[in-house]
């Protein structure tokens, strides 16, 4: 439909009520999303918070050169990739397996109870969950008692003071907290599978594992693909709430993820421009990763987000 400019203006005025609903939202987005986006340019400046934005001098790629030659930056990249890879390689399938096994439970009531309980830790704040972990991993904590009781270790280990355990602590505590919640999406996908498929397979003599593999997994493959794309695209991110809670001065060597590096450099050391340069580089790479993961998934499995 083609309307003249004046016609559009008239309609616009006539729907002033609807417009007055939407425009505050757009203004909110311009302020809270677009202004920060625009301010990414301070990564190319020597910005000082005391001065008006555009009076700071442009310094080109100085901060970019500074961070690529900073060893601590590369350490944070290594830590981020390390933690993300463990989560991706070992952790990605755990909620899928949980959903598949839960689906095999025949009693509906038991199934629902397990499901409800398994979501619970997702709603507990990381302050509390992290506090429990810190206690368990410390001196005389549950983990030491358990491992010494089982004869896995001979004396107490202060797990959270030794950097070499940090990645595993984040992995296991995240698995403990989020498995049930991450499984919901698979459980929903499984619930949407046509039961006639299973009946037909059973008549053909397919056993439990064959049905699981050929029907259930094949049917939820698009869901798996989408979540895998998102996981790969998010490989430069980390669970900040978790790491911020579990990090300390002793394990910082392995705990400082890229997010935490940006926080430490920008808000603790006050190097605003420097941190913003890192942020800028990261968002470009993250966007690239999203397209790359999407493209490869499309080529390999035919499933993609866009």
């Amino acid at each position: 439909m083609i309307q003249s400019k004046t016609g559009q203006m008239k309609t616009f005025l006539k729907q002033w009520q609807l417009q007055s609903m939407v425009i505050p939202g757009i203004v909110w987005m311009l302020i809270f999303c677009y202004i920060p986006m625009f301010w990414l340019i301070i990564g190319f400046m020597d910005y000082s918070i005391a001065k008006p934005m555009l009076q700071s001098p442009f310094v080109g790629l100085k901060h970019f050169e500074d961070f690529v030659t900073d060893e601590r930056f590369w350490r944070s990249i290594r830590n981020t990739l390390g933690m993300s890879s463990i989560k991706l390689v070992l952790g990605f399938s755990i909620p899928i397996v949980f959903a598949l096994l839960l689906n095999e439970i025949r009693s509906l009531r038991f199934k629902r109870t397990v499901q409800t309980i398994s979501y619970l830790p997702h709603f507990i704040a990381w302050t509390i969950f992290g506090g429990i972990m810190l206690n368990w991993l410390g001196e005389g904590g549950v983990i030491n008692q358990l491992f010494m009781g089982l004869g896995i270790q001979e004396r107490e280990i202060l797990y959270n003071s030794d950097p070499k355990y940090f990645w595993w602590i984040t992995f296991f505590s995240d698995t403990l907290k989020e498995t049930g919640w991450s499984a919901i999406i698979y459980i929903a996908a499984i619930a949407g599978i046509d039961p006639a498929l299973y009946e037909a397979a059973e008549l053909d003599g397919a056993n439990r594992w064959q049905r699981m593999w050929h029907i259930t997994i094949q049917s939820i493959r698009p869901t798996i693909a989408i979540l895998f794309i998102l996981a790969v695209a998010g490989i430069l991110g980390s669970n900040f709430d978790q790491i911020f809670m579990l990090k300390n001065n002793m394990n910082m060597k392995m705990a400082e993820s890229l997010d935490l590096y940006i926080y430490n450099m920008g808000l603790v050391s006050g190097r605003h421009s420097f941190s913003t340069a890192v942020l800028f580089a990261r968002s470009i790479v993250a966007l690239g990763l999203l397209f790359l993961a999407n493209y490869s998934s499309k080529k390999l499995t035919g499933d993609s987000i866009f």
Binding site: T11, I105, V114, Y119, T127, I184, M245, S283
Partner: protein
């Protein structure tokens, strides 16, 4: 052959059931651990934490938490933040979503593009921090509310829900002379209670559990939410203010750990109490999100 098959299935069923019970146990145990230790009596708590049952039940650590002015102020800030923040988020996001759900809205395409780009790019921590400072939101209660008033994701959920409400309902109200706002508040919102409940709950859980905004933006003690105080107590081990009070109240016999556990319990209790009633709404929300996504 047939009996073997049945037996094998039986075996699987047993193992699987035991596994699921184990999952439930592992999930519930951390909370039980906090609960048991928060009740453990001071004399026994100095000997270390208990794994299952408190050796002697005592409410002393709760007394310290509940009579601590700072903690109670944190509780108040968190409650205010949760109530105001949730109301603001739901109202603001729903109103924007209703406007955008009208296909005849002039400029809709541009508005949607503006909204969509916020999903792909963002300024991130430092530019956002500078913005808050310039807006005067640093060390200000409203830093909890205003930046959290809108999310694209929830807007889309509202929008797609509003589309399912039959046009005839809205039309008849319009014929009776209702304005767009009248239609939204008297027809559309009352018919969307399920989605409003879901989004309110997610927003409330976020506001209740968030500690990070308080760490970054708040300096004044009186504005710290409960979770930020907990973060300081647990991760930074700065609980001198409570220990001093505990010393005054109970002598030196109340160890720091019991107070920590009691504080954790107080901060989680509202979630644990509401959880059985709200969990189905929360799950529903994910389903809506999953279908749209």
């Amino acid at each position: 052959m047939n009996t073997r098959r049945i037996r094998r299935f039986g075996m699987f069923e047993v193992v699987n059931t035991v596994l699921m019970i184990a999952v439930c146990f592992i999930t519930l145990y951390p909370m039980w651990f906090v609960f048991a230790n928060s009740l453990n009596s001071p004399e026994h708590a100095t000997l270390g934490t208990v794994n299952w049952i408190p050796k002697a039940i005592s409410f002393d650590s709760y007394r310290v938490v509940f009579s601590n002015e700072n903690m109670m102020n944190g509780f108040y800030i968190t409650t205010m933040r949760t109530v105001i923040g949730t109301a603001a988020h739901v109202l603001f996001t729903a109103i924007v979503a209703y406007g955008l759900s009208k296909t005849n809205l002039i400029g809709r395409k541009i508005y949607m593009k503006i909204a969509l780009i916020t999903m792909l790019f963002s300024g991130g921590l430092i530019p956002t921090f500078i913005l808050m400072t310039k807006l005067g939101l640093y060390d200000n209660f409203w830093v909890f509310i205003i930046p959290a008033m809108y999310t694209f994701f929830n807007m889309v959920i509202f929008m797609s829900f509003f589309r399912t409400i039959p046009d005839s309902l809205e039309e008849s109200a319009k014929v009776d002379g209702a304005s767009d706002y009248g239609v939204l508040f008297r027809i559309v919102m009352p018919n969307s209670m399920a989605v409003i409940a879901t989004i309110s709950l997610f927003s409330a859980v976020y506001h209740w559990n968030d500690y990070y905004q308080g760490v970054i933006y708040i300096r004044t003690q009186e504005l710290l939410p409960l979770q930020t105080m907990l973060f300081k107590i647990i991760a930074e081990n700065s609980m001198s203010f409570m220990q001093q009070q505990a010393m005054a109240q109970f002598g030196a016999r109340l160890p720091g750990n019991s107070i920590k556990f009691a504080s954790m319990m107080v901060a989680t209790l509202p979630i644990l109490l509401f959880y059985p009633f709200i969990q189905r709404y929360l799950v529903k929300g994910v389903m809506i999100g999953a279908i749209k996504g």
